[in-house]
């Protein structure tokens, strides 16, 4: 191989990470500042101004309740902007290019410029299309991803006070229910475009979403069943490990068998296992871990299909269907489609992180955990307290948010890598793969997990 002769150039990688770091800092700083202002600052100011006034108390509480919505509203557009840029720069890295590096410092504002451009473009209604449905389609495609993201806020912030209210006992079901609505938007868009390519794209999307929803939901159900909870916060918290198991770090994640391996190691170290039990327990623990890895794989595959990412981007198959359902879209409507696609990618990654990768749990105990962040936050909080303002953040939330974001973006980057590598399925092969491979496999796993769970 002559690849050793290739000069290694870390310049572009460095630029990529710098750009990512700055963008992510801005995104989450902005979101947190907005949440802090709406959820803490304003209510406290109101209460300070009108102490002992029941009306003011109600108003303050009402404003507090708006926090999650404000958070999501601020978060989604900026985040999608960053993700588009990250994808373009990431793909450029994989394809030995430089990527957009002209607008702003080193391409920093490229997507902002694109967004502005799209905003000012003309909205074209296709001749003979159904204008009402055509207009509604992007909204129906986009809105569920906004609402679907809300319960996850509680999970990734370790159930912070402000986000407690959005936590549902059946949170994961809510997310799944929301994530299956966008396909209606795609079909509507495809139909209303009065374009045969769009129609085929829309119908493909429907077929695809229906067939991949099943393995996806089965994978999640199995994991919920294993964990014994539908509550996203609960699922995320459990993966931190209870009591003495917490020291096993990432082995507690559902990805490695929902705590089976730490449990086994714990018993082994305490000497509670004897004879053949040492081997059989180990076997079943590993089997459970293997099942969980498969489940996660099924989920990620199904999620890729659900959000129309390569290799499952059939609805927009550019070389066959000329972008499919969004062929006729332009201007802000197209921007919304675009935005929603990336938001969906982010949300499915977050769900995967919450379900399998430990949510906000740190992979190595003691590494960048709540204490570390608390020591960073304390000076700020003290300064604010002296000014009579509410504390800005606490270590628990910061650590949770940091790790959840880190893991989510790791998955997003993986999706970008996949996008840079794989070709596209054909529609019949796709359905074949979904119905004949993934669904049986997920059913088998459901049975296997119920059985193995009792043996571990």
């Amino acid at each position: 191989m002559t690849s050793s002769a290739v000069p290694y150039n870390l310049n572009e990688i460095g630029k990529f990470f710098l750009l990512s770091g700055v963008w992510l800092g801005i995104i989450f700083g902005a979101v947190w500042a907005a949440c802090w202002a709406v959820g803490m600052l304003v209510p406290q100011l109101i209460l300070n101004a009108y102490p002992n006034d029941p009306c003011a108390l109600n108003v303050a509480n009402a404003i507090r309740l708006l926090t999650p919505l404000v958070g999501v509203m601020v978060f989604i557009p900026i985040n999608a902007m960053y993700m588009v840029l990250a994808e373009r720069r990431g793909l450029a890295l994989f394809t030995v290019r430089k990527g957009p590096n002209r607008v702003g410092p080193d391409g920093f504002l490229q997507t902002a410029a694109d967004a502005v451009k799209l905003l000012f473009k003309e909205n074209i209604n296709p001749h003979g299309g159904d204008v009402l449905m055509f207009t509604l389609a992007p909204i129906i495609f986009f809105a569920p991803s906004v609402f679907g993201a809300i319960p996850l806020l509680a999970a990734v912030t370790s159930n912070h006070d402000l986000f407690k209210i959005v936590n549902l006992p059946t949170g994961i079901f809510y997310v799944l229910a929301m994530s299956s609505i966008p396909v209606v938007g795609i079909v509507m868009g495809g139909w209303a475009s009065n374009n045969k390519y769009s129609l085929v794209g829309g119908l493909r999307s429907a077929a695809q979403a229906i067939s991949y929803e099943i393995p996806l939901v089965l994978a999640i159900i199995t994991t919920c069943f294993l964990v014994g909870s539908l509550d996203v916060v609960n699922i995320a918290q459990m993966q931190k490990g209870t009591d003495n198991l917490a020291s096993f770090g990432f082995l507690n994640w559902n990805f490695f068998g929902a705590g089976a391996i730490p449990h086994y190691l714990d018993l082994l170290m305490q000497g509670k296992l004897e004879g053949a039990q040492v081997v059989t327990s180990a076997f079943w623990s590993l089997a459970l871990a293997f099942c969980c890895i498969l489940l996660c794989g099924i989920y990620l595959t199904g999620a890729c299909a659900e959000i129309n990412r390569i290799p499952f981007d059939l609805p927009e198959a550019e070389s066959e269907l000329v972008s499919g359902y969004n062929t006729e879209y332009s201007g802000i409507r197209f921007a919304i489609f675009f935005l929603a696609e990336f938001t969906n990618l982010f949300i499915v990654s977050t769900v995967a992180v919450v379900m399998w990768f430990g949510g906000g749990a740190t992979p190595f105990p003691g590494f960048l955990d709540a204490n570390t962040f608390a020591s960073i936050a304390t000076p700020f909080n003290q300064a604010l307290a002296q000014a009579g303002l509410p504390p800005l953040m606490d270590g628990q939330t910061m650590s949770g948010a940091f790790w959840a974001i880190f893991k989510t973006y790791a998955l997003v980057y993986f999706a970008i890598l996949v996008r840079g590598t794989l070709p596209r399925f054909r529609i019949d092969q796709l359905l074949d793969f979904g119905w004949k491979k993934l669904i049986p496999l997920s059913l088998i796993l459901l049975l296997a997990v119920t059985y193995i769970r009792e043996l571990v």
Binding site: Y197, S319, R419, R424
Partner: protein
């Protein structure tokens, strides 16, 4: 278990879709009128001629000297071959014997061109299959390197205007052969990389294996040439079957594939041809009379290119058998010559009446003949396979319409 779809209550309609002429995957301006039943293609009607530029007529209305510059544009991805076919036809009429060095330069440059053409095909084919964002850039990276070499020797990246009647335009500049040698050394590794990504990729295999099967008989009946027919198992390669130029002196194999001749075989055949072309270039660099430009200069004891060395020169070191000038004339007569281009056999039939213009040109273009087999392959294929099959034939529309 069979489901009766055509119940009287269920009304199904065939849908007619216009694919092209501005479809992103038709590689130009081909229009396919598809009759679809669901996603299955029932009937295909290719509509040609959107890019008709009357190349034959232009040849009859321009002097030989002018037409040489124009003919690269017929098949813009492998311009060397069209020039070569025309040059050979004219040399045949005129009875010119092209000097050895010129022949070797023609072989080197046109094998380079074969590689660039196949590389472009590889990238765009993967785009057709949906790997839109990553892989296609890799073949283009190598193609770019070759284009830089073309630029140095011929002046432009695609419209070379390099092969002339009676020889070639000029010697490569200093250092050119070294660069080319370096490229041939590293290129096999690059092909290995492409293959690591593509060849055994399960999705790629699913998309291509058993898709668009071109039987030997069909291929022969339609006059398919090039990698398409070799992938169907017929070793038709003019470089071997009707050797021309210095190909008999070079050691290479005709790459054929066993089996059905599906799109995967066509892919594989092209990959192997690229390796083979690389080998040919390597050999040709070794064998070229006079060696590299530097060696030739040393041999002749000259330093600058401007000095006329034609007096005491080994005739095989020349570049031109006949002086080229604006009034270039070809003797009266008729001739036909064919060369093996990346897409198949390019044939050129010329009648010359002895003036500085040809009396009649007739081109046999591989893309046109290969395209004619398309409806045969597409009927019964799902819409997604249309692009997979069409792409695998590797048609260049200017070459079809001329």
């Amino acid at each position: 278990m069979s489901v009766e779809l055509s119940s009287p209550d269920l009304k199904t309609d065939e849908m007619i879709i216009n694919m092209g002429p501005q479809h992103p995957a038709t590689h130009g301006v081909l229009r396919l009128i598809l009759t679809l039943d669901g996603e299955i293609c029932k009937h295909v009607e290719p509509v040609l001629g959107h890019l008709h530029r009357a190349q034959e007529w232009q040849g009859q209305n321009r002097t030989w000297f002018q037409y040489q510059a124009l003919i690269d544009r017929v098949d813009y991805l492998s311009g060397m071959y069209t020039s070569w076919a025309m040059a050979r036809a004219a040399e045949q009429i005129d009875g010119l014997v092209v000097p050895k060095r010129a022949e070797y330069l023609r072989v080197i440059l046109s094998e380079m061109n074969r590689i660039t053409s196949h590389l472009l095909w590889l990238g765009t084919y993967l785009i057709d299959l949906g790997a839109m964002f990553g892989f296609p850039f890799y073949p283009f990276r190598e193609r770019e390197k070759l284009f830089d070499l073309f630029e140095e020797v011929a002046g432009q990246r695609m419209m070379f205007n390099y092969i002339r009647i009676g020889g070639v335009l000029r010697n490569p500049p200093f250092g050119w052969f070294d660069k080319l040698k370096r490229f041939t050394d590293e290129f096999p590794d690059r092909i290995d990389e492409y293959e690591a990504i593509v060849t055994e990729n399960p999705i790629f295999l699913k998309r291509t294996k058993g898709v668009g099967i071109l039987k030997k008989e069909t291929a022969m009946a339609y006059g398919v040439t090039g990698p398409c027919i070799r992938a169907s198992g017929i070793p038709l390669d003019l470089r071997k079957t009707k050797p021309y130029s210095v190909y008999p002196e070079l050691d290479f194999k005709v790459q054929t594939m066993d089996g059905d001749g599906d799109t995967w075989a066509r892919y594989m055949c092209r990959i192997r041809e690229m390796r083979e072309s690389n080998e040919i270039i390597r050999q040709a660099i070794e064998k070229i009379p006079g060696g590299t430009t530097e060696e030739l200069r040393k041999l002749l004891g000259t330093t600058g290119p401007e000095k006329d060395e034609s007096k005491d020169l080994d005739p095989s070191f020349l570049l031109m058998a006949k002086k080229q000038n604006a009034g270039l004339r070809v003797k009266a007569g008729e001739g036909f010559a064919a060369v093996e281009s990346p897409r198949g056999t390019i044939g050129c039939y010329v009648i010359s009446n002895g003036s500085d213009k040809a009396y009649r040109f007739k081109w046999r273009n591989p893309s046109f003949c290969n395209l004619s087999v398309l409806p045969e392959l597409l009927v019964g294929a799902p819409i997604a396979d249309i692009m997979a099959i069409f792409g695998s034939i590797d048609v260049i529309l200017p070459d079809v319409d001329r």
